[in-house]
Every structure is written in C-alpha cells, then in structure tokens.
Symmetry: C2
Subunit: 228 residues, 2 copies
DNA sequence: ATGAGTCTGTCAAAAAGTTTACATTTGCAA
DNA sequence: TTGCAAATGTAAACTTTTTGACAGACTCAT
C-alpha cells in the first residue's frame, strides 16, 4: 500500500491535480505490472479503465486486416492513456502494448466517474491532455498526408532527438530508444526496406551515424533543411 | 442585438451548457459574417478567439510549402472550432476557410477566460468536443496510413453518405455537398486524377453514379466490402 | 447566348514505394 | 562458443500514384 502511494506521489502523473482529488485517487487506483509486449487493451474493446504510466512505456498501434501495423504514439512515464473511451463510451481506438516491462496505474471507469462526480473541478485537468493528444494526432495527419518519405523521416528523427536525444560522448546526439528500423517504418507508414534505404542515404550525406541498434544525429540543421 | 440572441438560441451551439453560462456568453459573443473562401484564421497564427458555426460551413486545411493541400475537416452548423489554441496557447494548426457564405459566433480569448473563471463547471462541456475531434484525427491517421486509395475512397464515400446522404427521388443516395473531385482528392491526400480514375472504376462496377458535380451512392454494401 | 471559369476524363512518362528474395551482421543466451 | 533470433543491407521486378498535358463538358452570370 505505502509502496503504491510512494510510487504515485513520486511520479508526474498527479501534477496539477487539486489536493482534494489526490487522496481519493490514491485510495481507488490499482497498480499493475506488464511484461514486455503485453497487451493492455485492444482496438474495438469497451473502455473499462484509464491508465497512468509509472515506469516503462506503452505503445499505441493500429493494425489493418492485411497485417499492416502503424505505431501511432509512444506514451512515457507521467502520461495517461485510455481516457477517451471513458469519456465518450466508444470503443478503444488502438491496441496498447507494453514496450519493455511497465508499471501502470489503473483507474477504473466507475472510480473515475465517482471522482469526477465528487470533484467536478477535475474535468479541467483533462483539457490540456486532450489538447496535446489532439495536436499530436493532427500533426501526424499533416505529416503523413503532405510530405514524402525523406521529409517525414527527417522530421521524425528531429522529433526523436528532441525527446530521446542524449550526448553520449560520441559525436552527435544519440537517440536513446529501442528503435529498430522496423519500428521506425511503422511510425512513418512505410516498409522497413524504404527506411533502411533512406537512413543509408542520410548517413552517406553525413547527417546521421548508424550502428547496429543505434542512431546518432550529427547535423540537426541539415535535417531541418530536408524537413522543409 | 435581439437578432444575435435569436440566432444563438436557435442553434445547437449552446446545447448542454448550464443556464448560468448562456447569459454571459450571449452578452460577450459577437456575430461575424464570412463570404465564400474567406480566411477565418490561418496556420501558425496566435489564437485570439474561438468560433461557433451558426450557418454555412468552415473547412480546415493544412498546406505544405510545395503547394499541396489537405482538407482535414469540414465543420458544420452547431460546431465550435479554434478552441484548442485558446486552451494551450499554441499557434493555429490549420487554415480555416469559409466554404460558401457563413455566419460564425466569435468568442474572444479574454471573454472565454472570464467565463471559465466565473463558471469552471463549463470546462466539462469541452471534453466531449475534444474527444470527438481527437477520434476524428486518429481515424484520419489510421485511414491514410494503413489503407490504399481504393479503400480510403470507399470509406470516405460511406462517411459522406452518412452525413450528407439524401434520397432525391433518383436511384441511390445523393451526397448533397459541394464536392468537386479536387476536394475529394484533398481529403484523401491524393491527386485529382487518381480520384477521377477510381470514381470511374466504382461507377463501372455499379457502386456509384456520377454526374457533373453530383454523386449518388447506389450500393453501400458493395462499398463496405471494398472498405475492408 | 456566350464567354469565362470550373469541373471532368484520359494518357504517357516518370517517380516513389512495395514486394519478394536473399545474404550478412550483431547481440544474447544456453 | 555456438547457435539462434533479431536486425540490417541490397536489388530486381512490380504496382501505385504523380506529373504534366490537353481536350471536352458543364454552369452561370452578364
């Protein structure tokens, strides 16, 4: 119990919540551990809870019947997912998979409803989150619909550098994220082969450096120019 | 003045708002008329107001530097747009253009802030709207990234039939919407020529009927099968 | 009724990305 | 250290869509 409380209070999940909401939330929320690849929920299901990521990361996928896969979002520690289905009652829009081992906080629909009933001021705290996700989705639309693969790849590498870039002593910024070309392809909605070809091209132009499972961004300005 | 009040009270814009919010809103909101094609706001600008559509429709576009255009959303009477930038303070994510003559209600940022300050319960009423837009955007992502042109076209035609389909005495449902193939192409993120080719194919298979500026859906089940 | 602007159909050449196939490299665990 | 699974590199053939170009059809306002 005290364990759950400590983890929760130490995470950014509750930042900005009114005091009066934190206590009851601590009461009802449950802790859940996920192993790598575990499915938290899947597209089409009814939404029974929302989840706060305490450690690890959760990936949201869309899958077509033909087996094509799209990696729409990676949610990190401190973020919530699954709230939309609780608000509008519609089915899950994605598969949610643990990427590596994860701990999530589970807030059941009934508990959320009760909390909101007692503390309607809490509604307000969902607005920035929804706005952020809406912008993310709209930007995804814009990118995939208006820009070619080389442009999208440059943009995505810059984004990833922003979030996961780290100076590791080598030249340039290392993108510290388990990110095989296969996954990058699923983000960009193209095949792995196409990504491989383009990455090689970027490397030959000196904009990035590649090694097995690793990627350094050497020339952000150069990528920016490609990104338009 | 009473004109504005009448229009407003007769529109679905205020549905669900608490009584205590409607009165002050009526006070501060302004009426604005737009001519066909008029730009309400444009991508990158700061958000100074949100807008409720009273009549006509507003289209949201993204444009690339290369001149490619994407028609992301068409907003109809009873819907609000532009609220996101007021909440998060970030620039407009789209160009907003009047499609045909429009009347919109203008709610300035300062007025919205004052209203929310006085009536924080109003935050709650933005949540369903944000959820709906988020789902729309996510579904757009899924479609454009996972499905081929023939599939996307079938899906879009079915959606349009849902919203704008009308029995006009002829065979099938007429899509009552000014929708040249050029615009359909901008929704689907392909060229007009590709849309023209695909529409012809659908017509030759008996799923739709085409005439200059008009389109009837003859076989929804058939489209559904194409849509996967 | 007519001319201008809008909308549609079509085609050939080019480009972009997929598919299929296979070889190689790397990291990790038994 | 060896064997396996994961990740990467490459290439030819193919498919889809774009590009650029043009002709014809339709509408509407003057």
């Amino acid at each position: 119990m005290s364990n759950k409380r400590d983890i929760l209070l130490g995470s950014p999940l509750l930042a900005g919540l009114p005091e009066t909401a934190i206590e009851p939330l601590l009461e009802v929320a449950k802790l859940k551990k996920l192993v790598d690849g575990q499915l938290l929920y899947s597209q089409g299901e009814a939404g029974e809870a929302m989840y706060g990521v305490l450690s690890g990361s959760i990936r949201l996928y869309n899958r077509s019947e033909q087996g094509r896969e799209l990696l729409v979002m990676q949610v990190e520690r401190g973020d919530w997912i699954g709230e939309v289905s609780l608000f509008d009652g519609l089915p899950r829009s994605h598969d949610a998979c643990a990427q590596g081992p994860c701990e999530v906080l589970v807030l059941a629909k009934a508990d959320l409803d009760a909390l909101l009933e007692k503390e309607p001021a809490m509604y307000r705290h969902f607005i920035p989150m929804l706005c952020r996700k809406l912008r993310m989705a709209l930007s995804y639309v814009e990118n995939v619909a208006l820009y070619s693969l080389p442009e999208r790849l440059a943009r995505r590498l810059l984004e990833l550098t922003e979030f996961y870039g780290e100076d590791d002593g080598e030249q340039g910024l290392r993108i510290t994220l388990h990110l095989p070309q296969e996954d990058l392809a699923k983000m960009l909605a193209v095949t792995r082969q196409a990504v491989s070809r383009e990455l090689k091209r970027l490397e030959s132009e000196g904009l990035i450096r590649l090694a097995y499972g690793k990627l350094w961004v050497l020339d952000q300005a150069g990528l920016q120019k490609l990104a338009k």
